[in-house]
Each structure stands twice: as C-alpha cells, then as structure tokens.
C-alpha cells in the first residue's frame, strides 16, 4: 500500500500482525523473554510499554519540526525516559509487588528498541494522529505477544493462569524449563514460526 493511501486504521493494524514488533521485527526481545514467566507480569509490562509508546510517539511527533537532526536521538531519550519514569513510579506506588517482580525491566523500557524505533522511523516523520495510531498498534502488538508467551509459559511451567492453579499436580506435572529462560526462547520460537506459517498461508506463499 503506498504511504499516501494509508489510513489511520492501517497504521494501527499493521502493528498487530504484519509488522508486529516482537514476532516479526524481533524488537524488544530482552523484555519479552525476561518478564513473561507469568501472564500477570506480561500484562503489566505490556501496559507500561503501550503507555510509554503512545505518549512518547505523540510528543516526538509534536516536536519533530523543532528538533535539529543532530540531537534527535538525545531528544527522544529524554522524552522516553520521562514517560518511563512516570510508569516506573506508578508501579512502585500502586503495584509494589509487580514492580518488584519486573525488577529493572520497567526502567529498561527507556532503551527498548520498539519505542526508539517507532520514534525514529515513524513519529519523527508523521503527524501526531498517525503517530498515535501507529504507537497504539505497536504497543498492542507487543502486549498480545507477551500475553501469549506468558500464558503458555505459565500454564506449562506452573500449571496456572493469573496465579490460579488450573491443572492439578496429579494430572499434569509442570515443566520447570518453561519458567526458566530456555522456555522463553522455545515459546517465542514456536510463536514466530506459527505466525510465519499463518502469514505465508495468507500470502499464498509456501
């Protein structure tokens, strides 16, 4: 689709599957592998990233004509870290447990490539509305992948969903590996393989 024909809905939709930040562009791997051992953590992390992406994309887009090219990266960092600090303090104030389990990964959103990439590739070149639509799509795309990884890992690794046991120890013995880092790599690999399979079916390519 040529850029001129793109609607706001298209900018939103592309982040969900076609240009999904995690599953297709392989950005933000560190956090998506590290915090997804429970679905609760995935959700918190996803929401934090949605918030930071939307806010920083909007602001970057607003100031895009004021910022000289030479200092644009520094400007993005300042903007993004401002919102990340907001999110971090919010978690610390209202959800101290989640803040503790997420550990350094909330502050590390500052250097999350997804947000950086959206600022540099999209928000710096597009008007505010399109940038926000793009940011929402990317944030939701990131969140749903994290939720799926988190759900798979939590069910297989601890036999529970949102901390509620759904599988009895007698029926299903949890796989310890799934809550460990190798489980994250396995799950993500399968997910990406599955998405590529769906995409190839859609495009009619074998």
């Amino acid at each position: 689709m040529p850029p001129s024909d793109r609607t706001l809905f298209y900018e939103f939709k592309k982040g969900l599957l076609l240009e999904n930040p995690v599953a297709v562009m392989l950005l933000g791997m560190c956090s998506s592998l590290a915090v997804t051992n429970q679905i609760k953590n995935s959700l918190a992390m996803g929401l934090a990233v949605v918030f930071v992406t939307i806010a920083s994309s909007a602001l970057v887009s607003m100031v895009r004509k004021l910022v000289p090219g030479g200092v644009r990266i520094a400007t993005y960092i300042v903007i993004i870290s401002g919102f990340v600090t907001l999110a971090d303090l919010f978690f610390k104030a209202f959800f101290p447990d989640i803040s503790k389990t997420l550990g350094p990964y909330v502050p590390l959103i500052v250097v999350n490539c997804i947000i950086m990439a959206r600022a540099e590739v999209f928000a710096a070149k597009h008007p505010v509305a399109a940038s926000v639509a793009d940011a929402v799509g990317m944030g939701v795309g990131y969140t749903w992948v994290l939720l799926v990884i988190g759900a798979i890992r939590e069910v297989l690794g601890s036999g529970s969903i949102f901390g509620l046991a759904i599988l009895s120890e007698n029926v299903f013995k949890p796989w310890v590996v799934m809550v460990l880092p190798p489980g994250a790599f396995l799950t993500l690999g399968f997910l990406i393989g599955f998405i590529n399979y769906i995409k190839s079916r859609k495009e009619g390519i074998e």
Binding site: K173, W175, V176, V177, M178, L180, P182, L186, G193, E206
Partner: protein, 324 residues
C-alpha cells in the same frame, strides 16, 4: 536415485554412480535397532516390566510423531525408515527406570519435532535428537530424571527402591562401585547405560557391519580415560581411575550410539578426532568439577553444535590447491 535413467535398446543409460553398495537408510537404521536389542534386553532383565513399557512407548511415539509431523509439514512421509525408531529407543535408554509414561512421550515428541524435523529432518539436524529430547526432559523434570532405582527388584518392580548411580556415589560420597557390576550392569542408572558389556556387543556388531566409524568411540573413550587418568595419577584417593570413568554412566552408550551418529558428527578425519577427544575431555570436566554427576549428554550436545565449524576448519586440502 538416478533421475535420468534411459533404456536404449536394452542398455540402461544413467549418470554416475554406477556401483551401488546396497546400503540405504532403513537398512542402516534397522541394524542400529538390532544392535540396541541386547542393551534393551539387559535393561528389561534388570529393571523389569516398566523398562519394557518405556522403551516401547518411546519408540511408538517417536515413529508416530515423525509420521504426523511429516504429514503436517507436507514432506514425504519416511517415518518407517527406522531413524525415528532409533531415536525413540535411544531416548528411552537414557531415562531412569521409573520415569513417567507421559514424560517419555513428551521427550520423544520433542526429540522428533523440535530436534529433528524443524531443522529439516534426517540429515539436517544439528543436535542428536535423542539427546536433545533428554536434555529437554532434564530441564522440564529435573527431579524425576534423577530418581534412580536399584536393579533386580523383580519383573514387576512394585517396590522400587531408590538408589544412587555409581557416578553420584563417586562424586558425592566417594564410594567406588565394583568394576564387575559396572561391566554387567547390576547398578543403578539409566535404562540402557548400566551394562557396558551389552552396549559393547551392540557397538561391535555395528562396527562389524561397517556402520560405525571406530575412530569416534575410540577417541571418545580414550579421551575419557586419558583425562580421567591425569587426575587419577595426581590424586588416586580423590579421583576415580580411568576404567571406572569408561564403564560408569553414559560413557559407553554415548560412545557407541551417540558419538557415532552419522548426522551430528564431523565428516572429516581430523574433525572426528577433534570432536571425540573434546567431547571426552568435557565429559571428564563436568564429571569431576561440574554441578552434575554425569556429563556425557551435555558434552556431546556441546560438540554437536561445533560440528559445522569443525567440518569447515578441518576441510582437507584439495590436490593441486595453492600453497597458502
């Protein structure tokens, strides 16, 4: 298969090769299955009915998984060529005698689907499928996979008695199991690793058939003996002797049935020596200084990952190539 085979006036015209050995994948694979039969029989003799069930379930589910995944991926279905059966039997032989049935199904499906077919199927897999299946089970069920039981508790083994393997006894309690028990297999351990004699019988049969390159098991076992021997010479009281190292744990099974895997080992002569000697050295390192009592599985898997590099590094010089 020769694609362009023409029959011209009673003469068959085809491109080379013209001399065929009569070997093919099913023939080799079913010979390996035959070579594993003594090991299986001994393990059933020592560990009873449950051993038989584990081996059977693992084989059936490996072949079944291979069939289904090949159908699903749209590849030619070659589940009956014996390679999946070998993977299944080998996987079962590396598991403890009382391992759960569901666990062995999981391991064999992982071995076939992830370790073999996702990489492209037989001939393309980087890692030995049976070992990767076991590594996954070790990571998934770290407790159950180290639940060893005593041999000889009757065929039905209702009253399984937990026991430590010779390597664990050596490592954590400093007790050395008698050699004769290690040779015959009357010790605790994985189903197929306890009897060195049975494994040797199978291995020598494969050697006789020409399916096993003797350099690989020899290099592996000699390397284990050599590096284990260094520590034994330095401090015979603290470290076990080379013979113990060779006969205990998965060294024999690994040497004859996993180091010799045609797919996951180097093709060059130098590469094979490097592969087997390094795998033996890593085994000794893990056994004596690592956190686990046994290191054969991880050492072979580690060296598997280096095989493409070894092949490239040790590529023989083509006659007439430049001096550089």
């Amino acid at each position: 298969m020769a694609e362009e085979e023409k029959n011209v006036g009673g003469l068959v015209i085809s491109s080379s090769p013209h001399l065929l050995t009569g070997e093919n994948v099913p023939k080799i694979m079913y010979s390996v299955v035959a070579a594993l039969l003594p090991v299986c029989s001994v393990s059933v003799y020592f560990f009873g009915l449950h051993a038989l069930i584990l081996i059977a379930v693992s084989t059936v589910s490996s072949v079944g998984a291979e069939y289904l995944i090949q159908r699903f991926m749209g590849r030619p279905v070659k589940a009956w060529d014996g390679s999946a059966a070998v993977t299944g039997i080998l996987l079962a032989l590396t598991l403890p005698p009382r391992f759960s049935i569901f666990g062995v199904v999981l391991g064999s499906v992982f071995a076939i689907v992830v370790a073999k077919q996702i990489f492209g199927g037989l001939g393309y897999n980087i890692f030995n499928p049976a070992l990767l299946g076991r590594a996954f089970l070790q990571a998934a069920y770290p407790v159950f996979i180290t639940a060893w039981t005593e041999p000889f508790r009757g065929f039905f083994q209702v009253d399984a008695v937990s026991a430590a393997t010779p390597l664990a006894l050596m490592k954590f309690e400093g007790i050395i199991t008698p050699r004769l028990n290690l040779l015959f297999g009357n010790v605790a351990g994985s189903l197929g690793e306890t009897s060195a004699l049975a494994i040797l019988a199978g291995g020598l049969y494969l050697r006789y058939k020409g399916y096993v390159n003797w350099k690989l098991p020899m290099g592996f076992l000699l390397s284990i003996a050599f590096f284990g021997g260094i520590f034994w010479v330095v401090d015979p009281l603290k470290y076990p002797d080379p013979l113990f190292h060779i006969l205990s744990g998965g060294a024999m099974l690994g040497a004859w049935f996993m180091v010799t895997d045609m797919v996951t080992t180097p093709t060059t002569l130098k590469g094979q020596w490097l592969f087997s000697v390094a795998a033996g050295a890593i085994t000794i390192l893990i056994r004596l200084f690592g956190g686990l009592p046994e290191g054969v599985m991880y050492s072979i898997l580690l060296m598997n990952s280096l095989v493409p590099l070894l092949n490239r590094w040790t590529r023989p010089k083509v006659f007439g190539e430049g001096l550089a």
